[in-house]
Each structure stands twice: as structure tokens, then as C-alpha cells.
């Protein structure tokens, strides 16, 4: 919980604020769900790197992973959970407040 005097940067959630995780959440927010290959290409990550971030997000309850097969090909779908949607919204709000504060300081 934040107070009115707290700096907006203090509201950033480490689990979400990492650039690649934020990217994953943005893509999932827009797409509803996305498969591993699309996420990898969109974010320019390696298999291992993306896998680690997805696992961290899944452990935090922000993303749900659905692993299965299509034909003989394994396919993993990632989807934003309601908790992940709220966390992303809170993160974007905090970023917006920070930018407004920076802009306000620059203008004064």
C-alpha cells in the first residue's frame, strides 16, 4: 500500500518491472494469449531466457502456462491471469505517475 507522499518509483513491482517481463505482460494483455514462439520472436529472447521469465511470472501467479501438443509438435501457450492483469495495470499507472512527476519537475 502506498501513501500520497511516496515516490512513484517505489510502487514498481520487481516481478513485473523487469523489462522483458513487462514486455511479456504487454503482449499477453493485447493478445489474450500467445504461444512461446511468438513471444520469443516478439521480444527477441532466447528459449532459456524466455522460459525463465515465464516460470517466474507463473510462480508469481501473474501468468498461466498451458503446455500441450499440436500433432507431434509441442506448443506452450501463455495467458495473463486476473492477478497479472491487475499487476500490469498498477505498474503502468506507477510509470505514468512517474513520467508526470518528471515532466512536472522539468517544467518548473
Amino acid at each position: 500500500m502506498t501513501t500520497g507522499n511516496e515516490h512513484p518509483a517505489a510502487e514498481f513491482d520487481d516481478a513485473v518491472h523487469h523489462p522483458n517481463r513487462l514486455g511479456i505482460l504487454i503482449v499477453l494483455h493485447e493478445a489474450g494469449r500467445a504461444d512461446f514462439t511468438f513471444l520469443k520472436q516478439a521480444l527477441g529472447l532466447t528459449d532459456g531466457n524466455l522460459g525463465r521469465h515465464l516460470t517466474a511470472l507463473e510462480t508469481g501467479g501473474l501468468v498461466s502456462l498451458n503446455k500441450g501438443y499440436e500433432g507431434r509438435r509441442p506448443r506452450t501457450w501463455a495467458q495473463l491471469t486476473p492477478k497479472g492483469r491487475r499487476a500490469l495495470q498498477a505498474e503502468l499507472d506507477a510509470m505514468r505517475r512517474l513520467l508526470n512527476r518528471v515532466d512536472g519537475s522539468a517544467g518548473s
Partner: protein, 196 residues
């Protein structure tokens, strides 16, 4: 390293380009309007009461094909809900007493309004300005047709299903808008492909 705002916006744009989220609705709705304008809202090839909802079902189907092939989901587009709304509203207008209140031209206008309202709801969920603007144009054009054609008499419409001449201005206007939307959709399709 921080992910810049531009990069986040770029990611969102890439997802939407992959979904062809703007071009597909423009092309499909444009084709629908062109088809019905040319055929004077006749029953061929598919009657309006089925064609309009089918257009939204088609959009859902295309989105699912993209999802299966490329791995990006359909997002916040509730095409099936829109199809259900359009089907219900269009058919409700065919029921009495509504059908006896309007002539065929007015019904055409109201059907276009219904499609515009469905597209408007979809556009709002995705904050797409172009689709929102197009939806508003459809609502306004449909309303203008419905309001300004109240004196037109269409002989035998209710009994024999006779249709007005395809040369009447409402159908020409609807056809023109259909062509415009389809061309705009194709232009956006090209831009979306460049973004991928």
C-alpha cells in the same frame, strides 16, 4: 536495461499488426456493405439477416486462424458477442410491430446502424481510433438513410418481397462506403505486413 515507452508501444503495435486487428474488420465489413448495396439488400447470396452476423463470425474465424498459425491470440475482440448482438437486433427489426413501422429503405439504414454500433463496441475495447471513426460514420450514415427515406414507398415489400431499384441513392451510398472501407482495409493490411 529499461524498456522504453516506445518499445512498449511498438510491442503493442506488433501484436495488433499480427492480428490484422484493424484491416480485417475494415475489409470484411466493407465487403458486406458493398454486397448488400449492390444487391439492394436482396436475399442473394445471403440474406442480410444472416449476412451481417456472419461477417462478425467470419472475423472471429479469421482471428482463430491467425492464432493457430502465428501463435497470437484474438485478444479483446468479442466478435461472437458482436455477431449475436447483430443477429438479434437485425431479426428483431423484422418482427411486428417494428417491420410495419419502417419501409425497406429505413430498415436498410437501421441495419447499417446496427453494424456500426457493433463495430463501435469492438473498437472501444481496443482503443482503435480508426475503427471507432469508421463505426461512427456507419451509425451516422445509417441514421441519415433511416430518417430521410421515411416517405419512400416500396410496393409489395411486405407481401411479395419486391425490392427497390438498385439505383436508389441509399444503396449507392452504402455500396460506396463499402468500397471505401475495403480499400482502406487493404491499405492498412499492407502497413500491418510491413510492421511484422
Amino acid at each position: 536495461m529499461e524498456m522504453s515507452t516506445e518499445q512498449l508501444v511498438g510491442l503493442r503495435a506488433r501484436v495488433r499488426a499480427t492480428q490484422h486487428a484493424r484491416s480485417m474488420p475494415l475489409i470484411v465489413i466493407g465487403a458486406l456493405l458493398l454486397n448488400y448495396g449492390i444487391t439492394s439488400f436482396g436475399a442473394h447470396p445471403v440474406a442480410w439477416r444472416y449476412g451481417a452476423p456472419l461477417a462478425f463470425v467470419l472475423l472471429w474465424g479469421l482471428a482463430k486462424v491467425i492464432e493457430a498459425n502465428v501463435g497470437v491470440g484474438t485478444g479483446r475482440f468479442d466478435y461472437l458477442i458482436a455477431a449475436g448482438f447483430v443477429f438479434t437486433a437485425v431479426n428483431a427489426l423484422m418482427l411486428r410491430p417494428f417491420s410495419s413501422w419502417f419501409n425497406l429503405y429505413q430498415l436498410e439504414g437501421l441495419w447499417v446502424v446496427i453494424v456500426g454500433v457493433a463495430l463501435f463496441a469492438l473498437a472501444l475495447t481496443t482503443h482503435d481510433r480508426v475503427l471507432t471513426l469508421v463505426a461512427l460514420v456507419l451509425v451516422i450514415v445509417g441514421a441519415v438513410i433511416a430518417v430521410t427515406t421515411h416517405r419512400y414507398y416500396v410496393a409489395g415489400f411486405y407481401r411479395g418481397g419486391a425490392l427497390p431499384s438498385p439505383n436508389e441513392w441509399p444503396n449507392q451510398l452504402i455500396s460506396g462506403i463499402g468500397v471505401g472501407l475495403a480499400v482502406l482495409g487493404l491499405a492498412y493490411y499492407g502497413r500491418e505486413r510491413e510492421q511484422l
